[in-house]
Amino acid sequence: MAKNTLSSRFRGVDIDEYDENKFVDEQDEAAEQQGPDACEVDHLIRQYPSDQWDMMTAFHIALRNPPINSKNPAVKERAQVVVLRVLTAFKSSDIEPAVKSLDKNGVDLLMKYIYRGFEKPSDNSSAILLQWHEKAFAVGGLGSIVRVLTARKSV
């Protein structure tokens, strides 16, 4: 009974970190993944009511450079905010041509952002995201949703 049994600091050790069978994803370089350029997108959104094609450009810019490999949650958060702004600024009738202008990888990426947006609902965002989801689903099908669920590197 000479041992001090009152100390419980050992309970703070995360035993799973030391498990030799623990699966660790491959480390890819973070590279140039800084997320889309917020200022450019802002500028284009402001011009929206007058020029529809500016909106498409803003859309494409927002989907460029996704911070997929980045481990910095702030970068991912920033990218998500920019994309959400573009998605909410669209008029309902313009959603379909915008989705049609994307290639397969673009549709998958859009689906990832949509589901990320669902995670933190605010005001009207869910309704608008559901409209985007319907159009993206029509193009990408169940496969694009499965890819959102199984992606190891998410947005």
Binding site: L142, G143, S144, V146, R147
Partner: protein, 369 residues
Amino acid sequence: MSYHSFLLEPISCHAWNKDRTQIALCPNNHEVHIYKKDGNNWSKIHVLKEHNGQVTGIDWAPESNRIVTCGTDRNAYVWTLKGDVWKPTLVILRINRAARCVKWSPKENKFAVGSGSRLISVCYFEQDNDWWVCKHIKKPIRSTILCLDWHPNNILLAAGSCDFKCRIFSAYIKEVEEKPAPTAWGSKMPFGEVMFESTGTSGWVHGVCFSDSGNRVAWASHDSTVAVAEGGKTAVCASLTSETLPLLCVTFITENSLVAAGHDCYPVLFVYDSNKAAMSFGGKLDVPKQSAQKGMTARERFQNLDKKATTDSKEAVLESVHKNSISQISILNGGKAQCAKFCTTGMDGGMAIWDVKTLESAMKDLKIV
């Protein structure tokens, strides 16, 4: 194309004998049932009871007429037909998790078992001790091995795993064979050497298949993609994302065409173009019955709008032959080079036999190169 419903439970795995008159299958329990075809009916002729856990893999060696089965009880048995009875021989796999899949090598002198213990057991028969011995391939596998396929040279083994990778290993056993000649995947092949590891697709690899020449390997993974890699100085990979649910099994039917099936309950054709190193979707291989178009009354329309927010009259009934996911595909005639017939079994307890010629004529744009 014919469909036969064996059971109400899923068929966990199946294997055909050499002349395709008998099929061994596991009805989702600890036994293996062997059915024999007579006329249009199937009659059960043997029941193999030895496993203590669900049988997860069966393979029937065509030349030597031996069946190997593996199960969740961490064992594998090699069954030989003595007279009219199948006698089992236990194979100690030295694994501490369930076995998931088993395949005889092309020369039938060894077989490989993939398991949840993150390793592949390659077993061969040692004449002196009259006993099956196994060797393990462990590195660099990080998770359960879900599927295996042998290269025609009897040495290379493709394995799909839950660590999102498809790999080709060398399973060269110096006790039973000579040194292999160089292949498209490499020339030095010591036991356990990784000749190829896939990158690019994420998702568990459910099905893997070598082409007839062994120069190409295809795999289907859980992120709804199918990929083909061609061996060479640098392996060339081509993958195709699909809009369907994930595919569970894949097989080559010619050197350039693949058939895959999965959770969408119908087989799908893919075509690989080696000049462009790209894959394309060939077509859906199911022949749905033409259901009579019923007119909708206005009342039905409003009811649909109210209940489902849509005026579509699509019924919630699967139109495919299989009513549940297809879990395994096997080639019946023609081999992987010029397949004439293939068979699918699934979770609906049924087995469908598909004839390639009839499918080609039934679907207008279908081209099997």
